[in-house]
Symmetry: C2
Amino acid sequence: MPPHRLVKQLAQVARPMSTLAGYKLQQHSYKYRYMIVSAGIATGGVMFYFCQKHKVLAASSVQSQKSLWMTDPITDIKDLEKNPDSMKTKMELLIMRIQGEVCRALEKEEEDKKFVVDRWIRNEGGGGISCVIQDGMVFEKAGVNISVVHGHLPPAAIQQMKSRGKNLSGKNLPFFATGISAVIHPRNPYVPTIHFNYRYFEVENEDGTKQSWFGGGTDLTPSYLNQEDCVHFHKTLKVACDKHDKSYYSRFKTWCDEYFYIKHREETRGIGGIFFDDLEEPNHEEIFKFVKSCAESVVPCYIPLVQKHKNNGYGYAEREWQLLRRGRYVEFNLIYDRGTKFGLFTPGARYESILMSLPLTARWEYCHQVEPGSKEEEMVQVLKKPRSWV
Amino acid sequence: MPPHRLVKQLAQVARPMSTLAGYKLQQHSYKYRYMIVSAGIATGGVMFYFCQKHKVLAASSVQSQKSLWMTDPITDIKDLEKNPDSMKTKMELLIMRIQGEVCRALEKEEEDKKFVVDRWIRNEGGGGISCVIQDGMVFEKAGVNISVVHGHLPPAAIQQMKSRGKNLSGKNLPFFATGISAVIHPRNPYVPTIHFNYRYFEVENEDGTKQSWFGGGTDLTPSYLNQEDCVHFHKTLKVACDKHDKSYYSRFKTWCDEYFYIKHREETRGIGGIFFDDLEEPNHEEIFKFVKSCAESVVPCYIPLVQKHKNNGYGYAEREWQLLRRGRYVEFNLIYDRGTKFGLFTPGARYESILMSLPLTARWEYCHQVEPGSKEEEMVQVLKKPRSWV
């Protein structure tokens, strides 16, 4: 095995152990990776030890993670350090790191532009960080957002949760919500659009009882079908799921196909992935680990597809078909997506960050028909009847 | 007064009296209008007489209207002839005629393309006629649809009505709905987009009681503000309203500004017009006449603006701004518009006809800002704070 492939494999092992090393790997040439991987494994071990045994020392590690982030977290670093075991802290630190990792991995492919970083504060409580590339050479629009918000949920937002099966009582319930959400619309019609979102919720009922749960998922929306890509994408997700529960992948793959369904068109938005919501069992600690694995699998799920196709040749017809598919994307997001509605119905929400999921351009043709036997028809057939990929 | 202006005035008087003459006027030069107007007045008088006194003869007039339509009505002509006094018949004949008038007036401006006429049948009862121009020289997308549907309303569709204040009881209520709905998206950024919709509803509650009402409106969405256009548009609507009730225009103008409000952006979709719903008072006959006046005012409201601006010069910046404004149009239609939701939630609805309201192309830029003092800012100021135009 050539040395750089060995390093690659080591790097994959090392990353979950040390996020610091994991990230830095992406910034260096292979020549330097040897050292960093070793250091990564070592640091990972040391950090793990500190986290378990010395909370005070672990707390200071919040500061040390700074280089991984796109900007400062929403919650004051001192508050994060004071509550290292709180799920709120753990989720915020996770999404801060994932945001940095994903943005830097995408920037490496972009060449033309860097992410613009917007840190915004919500008057009603909390805020967010939106990282956006617009009109890039590779990414026509790429948004990677995190948000950490709290306050009171208005009836319209509660309704979005109730309709999902949550049993919430009251009109204005105290809540806390944190999550990372990203949509990447590449320019080349052969590079698929990816969406992922991982979130944690706490809501207090009127009677003082609390509910908290996790939700999330990663899904792919190609304009053209590439079987190899689909298998790679789903396999990578399955590996992340299988580490935690052998039933997860198949459950969450089905849930994803059902959720991203454009009812009026009787087709799915893309070729799926995984989707879950209201996850509370077996316990928060286990689900957090699962969410962490999923979020960490985004880069290996997607970046290889960008690298593989970003220089593919294409013409007017492929571009037009991509824009039509993006029209469907807009339809799903604005008509059916609960996340978008929940966002828009939450007072003080930053609509620019919510609607960042919309493509730069989209197209609607009246009664568009695909040619029988065409590549476009091949894609539609999969959207009409989701397939098993692994 | 020069003879052609006299003819114009006569034509305005004649049109409501004879739809046949009214329509044909648009197809002939002034030279021939004298004869047609006179014939129109005469025919109008004759028809009026027949309608009142001889229902059998009046019935045959349904056949004679054929040349006004784009294709055959949804309801069998014999059934329409059998029930000339039924509001269902009157509304269907009105919208058939308006569809023909509007399509032919637009075709005269288009030069490049003719309307494609799709007659569709709904398995669950009824059907519709969609007339669409796509990718024309003047009209990038223009759809003028009518529908005449009946059957049972599912809970999701009833919900759309209840949330409006209708007190409907039951899970699957028998209903009848007919209406005309049009959205015209011109290519030139200086020609505004127009939307109009006039509809009649009948719903039967579980206890057998019936409710029926009218709704509708006409509204304008320019990308650039032209005060003169706004005044012309609103004045024409006011004239149509004032003939029936002096309070209508001001009530329905306010309602329009409130309805076409993009809540998350805190701006209206356009410069308004009129909008009303649940209209039952003073009686169906009077409201029908009002709806007829409004529907007949569409051509004089809009065609002069098309003629005035369709050859305006424009560049990349204006086109881009137009596409951004269209993005907002899509947001309103897919997130807030009750008509769209009602349509999509009605089983067997033809989504291609419902989504024909979406533009051919639209654009979303993250955090787009208008230049202070620019024409774009001038437009946004009106959207942020609706004005009085008459």
